[in-house]
Symmetry: C2
Subunit: 522 residues, 2 copies
């Protein structure tokens, strides 16, 4: 595993500062020292990315598809070495890491399929009408083209699927954008191994080396990346605080650029009375397990559960209480996340209006000890402290007098990645008013399921109104994630030889195009 | 014509401040005093818009199409009264205003057609795979839904097509968003007349009155609008300074919202030597007329013309000189624009490196007197003053030693709405490197034409990298303008009865949908 930064295929270690991974289970530092990038290395990576973009943006869908597939193959070829390193650096169990590797390679291959087919560029063609009165119409065509070099920030909670070769990188490459990834400081070794795999794929695919660079670092490296004039977009998954800092930096550039930041979310569940008519014990187990999945370190973790008062609710809360006690605490990703979880959890549980239903004892490890609190809706609505995200295995049960109060709770929450409604079909239909308030606030609305689990597919929308994400129009998961890194370029009366393949008159790529207003492969 | 603000169908004039139109030809104030909106009126309009949105966002495409067509009919029914008022307030000729009215009604009808057909919502459906291993796939569906109430700012240079019922309003209504328009202070009467037409269409279409409000005002009203929590997006066409102020306001809100600002542009023309081989005199006339069209008050006005040294160029510059002398100066839109034009024009012409080729004499009117300057490429590249937009009939001829220098000029410019290349097909092909640098910088690239004239169609992209626009991904002209005001909402395992028509299992709207990855009307 290389300990340097990887700048356009070259190992670079001009600086003297280094970082080390920490095994969160043993709390011990891992032996390797990784070199933090200095500004001249960021500069070099950005210039190389810009130069690579000049040809990469015109590469064929087939070429990019083969490249994405080669990355997946190279990641798989890393074998257990990569899995073990990711386990060491994240404390996540092996099954989870293997699953995440499958997801990572699967999403690389899904983007390969998307760009090989080619219709994602949303080609629109309006043919010339030379004899139109009072003025002729010119020939006008547009399609999406790569936006330029993209900076990607690895996420703490997904060392593979939202990091070095994760969804941001895969979608940017698919669009034709070079990528510079700053690995998350918690897993520098995993970052190094995946970076080497990508570099091998670049070589195998005979692409310019500047298509990919990988750096280590903290805030200064992040700042240098986001403010570099050659960088044209940013992909980030992380905290609200981190996302806001990047957004502010990007907006103050002479040329502001988009930051696609997927940030905090409390993912409320609205549990209608009919949902408590069936197996209450099973429901309690499902809810508790969803809260504790991956030590609650998912952006879609259900942090609020909104109920209506009923005799069945008392039973459910009893059952939830035992279910929480029965949960198996898991090691959290790093010391910072562990401490922040402990702090925000106790902050909420110590509010006067909140009753602790159940909280497990703490001990001297970085385990996330599950807890559940309870509060009346009227207290919740007026107390901003209770609206914040607790990143970890925590949830707050909100008790409403009636459905009107459930609506008031829904009205009071900020933008969310997800919202969930549980109940019988009949009751959900009758609660249409509540459902549409929830839909206003979220990117995805789930019925009779849990929000954890984000499918990588065409219809997925993993985003939501601020502060869930910086831009609720764009998803960071699923094939539409590619749309973040491409912009329409319009050609008027262009000679056919100049047009990209997607817009040429004979449609040589055989893609779907909106032709004089009609979708066709003509 | 009403002199009050029009808040959800009600006349309101709580404030005491008023504004008057000014006829720029006579420099005389028009008699009517229009009431400026106070914060409580903005508040009322925003709340009414939010409430209207609760049903308007679920209205059918057919309902919205009929509404858009009713607006067009009501505008046409205003007859000469509207045309005359717009002439009085803008100084634009009658033919131009009539053409603009046609464009305005045409674009309302084009959006009607788009939403009646319905496929614009980009529905994507991934069906459940209950027996998938290791985990089943849920049923996941998404489509675009109206983002919420939109604030629109009327533009000075298009009193109809980019103002009260212009492209921003038409596309927001089409998406299902209520609209609050602040008219441009230069044409309050035109704003009042069109607002009344829209209000009649709201009534005829039996929509909630809050779907539309119209206010008069200056900076305080703009601030109140952009910072109101119920407003979810902003449409603006105007100066870079104005756009930046709105963007900053919107980004500092507790919930930042998108501002779609179409701002400055100098729209460079790159004229290759072969373009000077044909009728030089005709080319000179074409160029001069494009610069002087509408007194140069178009966002697509060609403010830079980049040439390569040649004997033919000397002839062209001679011809351009006479063509500029022969141009007919036109009244500018208002005193502010006139003064700013005079100031920036003389600022550029007084730079040491710039030679004035031709500039018409000034006199005591608000006429835009055309001027053309000349500068060597090397001087242009290093002088930021010469890169600024001069809003009015002005252009700067940039003389390059060779095509490499043309590329350097292209590299030096900021984001643009348009870039133009003139030359033989053979020479354009050979200049592919130059063409791709231009394409990096612009939203639309025109071949052998002039950039003035922006078709309202499916393939139009009227936008560009910053500072041409705040968000180069979205167009403000053409059917894709609707995409600014809608965001994807994803439904997981939703009962059919809860789904919007676009996502129901039977496809009752008969629209194109991406179904398990394949486009189909199934």
């Amino acid at each position: 595993m290389i300990l340097e930064n990887l700048i356009a295929g070259q190992k670079k270690a001009a600086g003297h500062q280094t970082i080390q991974g920490v095994n969160p289970v043993s709390k011990e530092k891992l032996s390797e020292h990784f070199h933090v990038a200095v500004p001249s290395e960021i500069e070099e990576a950005a210039e190389a990315a810009h130069n690579a973009w000049k040809s990469f943006r015109f590469s064929s869908g087939e070429k990019r598809a083969t490249f994405l597939e080669a990355i997946a193959e190279e990641i798989e070829a890393c074998g257990d070495k990569l899995v073990e390193r990711a386990i060491q650096e994240s404390g996540l169990p092996g099954g989870r890491i293997r699953g995440e590797r499958g997801r990572t390679c699967g999403q690389l291959r899904l983007f390969a399929e998307l760009v090989r087919e080619g219709s994602w560029v949303q080609a629109r063609i309006d043919e010339a009408i030379p004899d139109r009165k009072p003025l002729p119409r010119a020939d006008i065509r547009k399609a999406l083209e790569a936006i330029g070099p993209v900076a990607v920030f690895g996420a703490s909670n997904f060392p593979l699927a939202f990091s070095t070769a994760g969804g941001d990188t895969a979608s940017a490459f698919a669009a034709g954008c070079p990528v510079i990834v700053k690995g998350h400081p918690s897993h520098p070794g995993t970052h190094a191994l995946v970076s080497e795999a990508i570099a091998r794929a670049v070589e195998k695919s005979e692409l310019p080396k500047g298509v990919f660079s990988a750096v280590h670092g903290g805030i200064p490296a992040s700042q240098a990346l986001v403010t570099h004039p050659r960088i044209k977009a940013v992909g980030f998954t992380g905290s609200l605080q981190g996302g806001k800092a990047l957004i502010e930096l990007a907006s103050k550039r002479p040329e502001p650029i988009p930051v696609y930041a997927e940030m905090g979310s409390v993912n409320p569940l609205f549990i209608l009375p009919s949902a408590l008519k069936d197996d209450i014990s099973k429901l309690a187990t499902t809810l508790a397990n969803s809260v504790n999945l991956g030590a609650g370190q998912f952006c879609t973790n259900p942090g609020l559960m909104v109920f209506q008062k009923s005799p069945e609710l008392d039973v459910l809360l009893e059952e939830l209480s035992s279910a929480f006690l029965g949960l198996n605490p898991q090691t959290m990703l790093n010391e910072g996340i562990y401490k922040h979880f402990k702090h925000t959890k106790s902050q909420i549980l110590s509010e006067a209006s909140v009753t602790t239903i159940e909280a497990q004892d703490e001990e001297e490890s970085w385990n996330g000890y599950p807890a559940i609190g309870r509060v009346d809706a009227s207290d919740f609505i007026q107390n901003d402290t209770l609206h914040q995200e607790v990143f970890g295995p925590f949830t707050l049960a909100i008790i409403c007098e009636n459905q009107e109060e459930m609506k008031a709770v829904a009205e009071s929450i900020e933008g969310q990645l997800t919202g969930t409604v549980m109940g019988s079909e009949q009751e959900i239909e009758a609660a249409r008013g509540l459902v549409s308030i929830i839909a206003e606030k979220v990117g995805r609305i789930i019925f009779n399921g849990v929000p954890t689990g984000v499918e990588v597919s065409h219809a997925m929308h993993h985003s939501g109104p601020f502060p869930a994400s910086s831009n609720g129009m764009y998803t960071s998961v699923g094939t539409d994630a590619i749309l973040r890194y491409a912009r329409p370029v319009c050609y008027q009366n262009a000679p056919d030889s100049i047009l990209p393949g997607s817009l040429k008159r004979s449609n040589p790529l055989g893609i779907w195009r909106k032709f004089n207003g009609e979708l066709t492969k003509k």
